[in-house]
Homo-oligomer: 165 residues x 2
DNA sequence: CGTATTATGTCAACGATGCTGACTTATAGT
DNA sequence: ACTATAAGTCAGCATCGTTGACATAATACG
């Protein structure tokens, strides 16, 4: 059915022009974020495949390494996923010896999470290609420009921060 | 349940200090990207839920609106997913009247994709909260700073670009 | 013309990662 | 003692990605 074949009736209106609302909606940044993140997370996948892990494992290993001793509740809050989702993946990391749990010294209900050496090695191996990509994206960027990027990215986060302490 | 009681001996080396390789690996940007994207994509979810769609639908509607007349192959290349993955979701959008297909005028094997008015409306509704978030993240940013952010995000993409014409 | 290639669609099975709901256990707080 | 909290677990389900195999139609080409 080319452009203007006269069909019975109800010709559903096709729109052939690109969305022309660039004045009120920032399509460019929306797409740049999509492409940037798509390729950014693709880096670690090859490495993860070898261990039989996925992106969910990556996140856990990353944050536990960044903040050793964080509790399960901390991790849930950071990742914004459910306990059941986390459990499945976390268990694999513990069973495989990448992460260890220790009962909290003050509140023994808590499980404080620590990386093993293997966990730290994995986290580092996964962060490396991502870091190289970031460095490449920043090439020739001044300190001020880098700061602009950080400020932008921080601004993209939700600001709700429920006070729970 | 497996409330671990006494461990035999084997004290596996726990690492209690945060990963100290910030000199060679840019953990800060890695995390900022994670949080930014996590919240960025969360915006449209509420809207999508109402239509019974998901993020996969969002991406398709977005790109078809941005480049009406793109082919299925174009879309596959853009999203970097498989034909089978795309088909399932694209079919729903077509059946629901958000996207229409037209046989290519020169190569009739192709299916050129166009948004309907409903498709355009949906794309716009989904882009809106994201755009607002971006504007907020850019508040008080100069044109030069915005440009720095764009340059960074562009630099995060893969540069392979296989010439296929 | 006939064959190969290409663009798309489809069936089937599976895997990763989310979700909800319901329940248990151990510990802490009052 | 009673209640609340931190964590773990079981069961089922949804979304969205994958591979592999095959079908159809149209184009490309020797």
């Amino acid at each position: 059915m080319p452009r203007q074949t006269s069909q019975k009736a109800v010709k559903p209106e096709l729109l052939a022009t690109p969305m022309g609302n660039a004045d009120i909606v920032d399509f460019e940044i929306i797409e740049l974020l999509f492409f940037a993140y798509r390729d950014f997370v693709s880096d670690p996948d090859a490495i993860l495949g070898k261990s039989g892990f996925g992106r969910a494992h990556h996140r856990i290993v990353h944050f536990v390494n960044r903040e050793p001793g964080m509790t399960v509740a901390d991790l849930l809050e950071t990742l914004k996923i459910t306990k059941q989702s986390l459990a499945r993946v976390l268990k694999q990391l513990i069973d495989s010896g990448y992460i260890h749990q220790v009962a909290g010294p003050e509140d023994r209900r808590q499980r404080k999470l620590y990386p093993t050496q293997a966990g730290r090695d994995l986290a580092l191996a996964l962060a490396e290609p991502q870091s190289r990509r970031i460095e490449k994206a920043f090439e020739n960027a001044s300190a001020a420009e880098r700061e602009s990027v950080k400020r932008f990215l921080r601004g993209m986060r939700d600001r709700n921060k429920i006070e729970t302490n």
